[in-house]
């Protein structure tokens, strides 16, 4: 029997270019995300990683290039269009409200409410039960539901931000530096969580600087950017950290081992 064919990419960007004034942040960059796979986006500072994620999440409009979702080119005029497609982004600053608890943060702006004559009263119990279920499914039972998230650890806050992104069952999740500020053990936990997302059939993109400890262990593919261009891409199992780093800094030519 033949191995199952690769699933079609759910989100692909083709020939994307973006300039800020005279600075070419992205030049003819292409990237594909497939369901059930975690793609790591790596590159040195200024390689264009964040710019690419902002284009993918609809925050920035590219000067040139195509945005394809499920094989069709779609118009993207802002973050709302992208969210409507089922693409969620977890930004590096997490966008959490420290004075609100986990339940309130998870549902912020999307609360279930009573009818108008209750003044759109928040259905707290329903939100809390759903939040508990989602966190349980993600094996995050240790997060207290009714504590202000400002009193929680960095890892827990990161996990809540990720949980919020998948609460509404997206097809694609983009994570900007989810482990940048975390201790090693907390980063491992976040890595396990990200693996869980991919194994449930989501397409995941994660930006990370931590090649050796995080990227190689928690991704299926690695996309390397250098100076705003595609520099190389690898399958994570077939590459060493050294090779990835070389491709990032432009030492030896990256081995293009993907089909």
């Amino acid at each position: 029997m033949q191995p199952p064919p690769l699933p079609d990419p759910i989100l692909s960007l083709r020939h994307i270019s973006k300039s800020f004034g005279g600075v070419k942040a992205l030049q003819d960059v292409s990237i594909e995300l497939r369901p059930g796979e975690t793609t790591a986006l790596v590159g040195d500072n200024g390689a264009g990683k964040s710019t690419l994620v902002k284009v993918m999440s609809g925050v920035l409009r590219p000067d040139e290039g195509q945005y394809l979702f499920e094989g069709r080119e779609v118009p993207v005029n802002g973050p709302r269009d992208v969210a409507r497609l089922g693409v969620q982004t977890v930004y590096q600053d997490l966008a959490l409200c420290n004075n609100l608890d986990a339940v309130q943060n998870l549902f912020l702006g999307r609360e279930r409410t009573g009818p108008w004559w209750t003044g759109f009263r928040v259905r707290r119990a329903e939100c809390e039960r759903r939040a508990r279920d989602v966190l349980r499914r993600m094996r995050l039972d240790s997060i207290a539901l009714d504590r202000p998230v400002g009193a929680m650890s960095g890892g827990q806050r990161q996990n809540i931000a990720i949980a919020r992104s998948i609460l509404w069952e997206p097809k694609v999740v983009l994570l900007d530096e989810p482990t940048a500020a975390l201790s090693h053990s907390a980063a491992e936990q976040v890595g396990a969580l990200i693996n869980g997302l991919a194994s449930h059939g989501l397409a995941v993109l994660v930006i990370s600087h931590d090649i050796h400890n995080f990227v190689l262990e928690n991704s299926d593919r690695i996309e390397v950017l250098r100076l705003g261009k595609n520099a190389a891409h690898f399958r994570s199992g077939e590459v060493t950290g050294e090779q990835v780093v070389n491709a990032m800094v432009g030492g030896k030519e990256g081995v293009n081992s993907a089909a």
């Binding site: 004075n99 912020l108 409410t113 759109f120 809390e128 400002g150 201790s183």
Partner: protein, 411 residues
Amino acid sequence: MSVAHPAQNPPPPEPAGGGAPPRSRRGLAERMSSELRFLPVALGLLALFLFFATQSDVFLTSRNLNNLLIQSTVTGIIALGLVFVLLTGSIDLSVAATSGVAAVFMSKCVVDFGLPIPVAIALGILAGVLIGSASGRWITFVGVPSFVVTLGVGLILNGVQLMLLPRTGRYNLLNTGVEDIAGTYLTGGAAWTVVLVAIALFALLRISHWRGRIREGLAAPLGGQVLLPVAIMAAVVIAILLYLQGMKGLPMPVILFGALLFALSYLAGETRFGLALYAIGNNEEAARRAGIKVDRIRISAFAIAGGMAAVGGILAASRILGVSVSSGGGVGGGALLLESIAAAVIGGVSLFGGRGRVVGALFGALIIATVSNGLNLMGVANEARLVVTGLLLVLAVSLDRGIERFAGSNS
């Protein structure tokens, strides 16, 4: 030995709760920074009561407590509305001036235009709401700091107030019917009905929470979530009623304050709008990304503050049987403005937004009124009263900060 990890260096600070067992009991300090926020303020109020009771024989009489409660209503109602603006991280320095203009406008409608009192009062409140929304609109539209805009608006309103007043500088409201609002007392069955309705509403709210949690299969202790809070609330309200029955009965301003307190606590604590206020106050950008219409919420908060200021101003006019140049605290808002802000802040509402409860305005207003009333009875001069109120404000804010730091929450 590893060079990268010299043994001398202390380990990097672990984030709080990192190694703690899951679902550890939440510390008292942390609970005090959220749902038990009112505890230090309530205890402070109790301490003040005990102190003044030992200093003056008159303090605990029905007549005096009646006065004290009524004294706190105008400041308290203005502070109630101000809480909404403070929660979003803004401030409204024009609330006192708004109360003055609304009261003068209402009086003009009654005296000069002969409008029926309910219509005049509705127009006065509407004026307050419009003033508040205009300030809010300007602040969100231009993006200027709220304290500058509302400082200017306050001065404008002081001018408008003088223009609205007749050449005598005063409208007399005696025998117009407006004075009945502050002068009405409910006794006997009517008073009991009001109190029982209040208890029933509070109980209904608690029960609906409790039933919701049972329906969703969440922990729902009947004692802690329904019986205890309802018992405490009922005991306090009935005690106040029994005390005031000994005097003239339940004063209408107090009933009005209670009703507004209930409605606005519900709005801030239970609804999607209230949650949005807290979110904006802590992290405006996060709120915007979550799809909250930040500008609309903020304008609504200013509208509520303006409306409540108008209610407070009209109540004050009814109490002192008229309006004059000094309605609304005089030029700049005077003591009325400062005490309204102080009431909210002493009640635990943060000036930096996102923290505090509406009920804090009640406690803050009561503390300010108690200090003023108690020191008066002790024969202490007015200047000392200002000093003590100021000290209490500083103490309250410092205590607040201490609790927050102890609870370990950032921001």
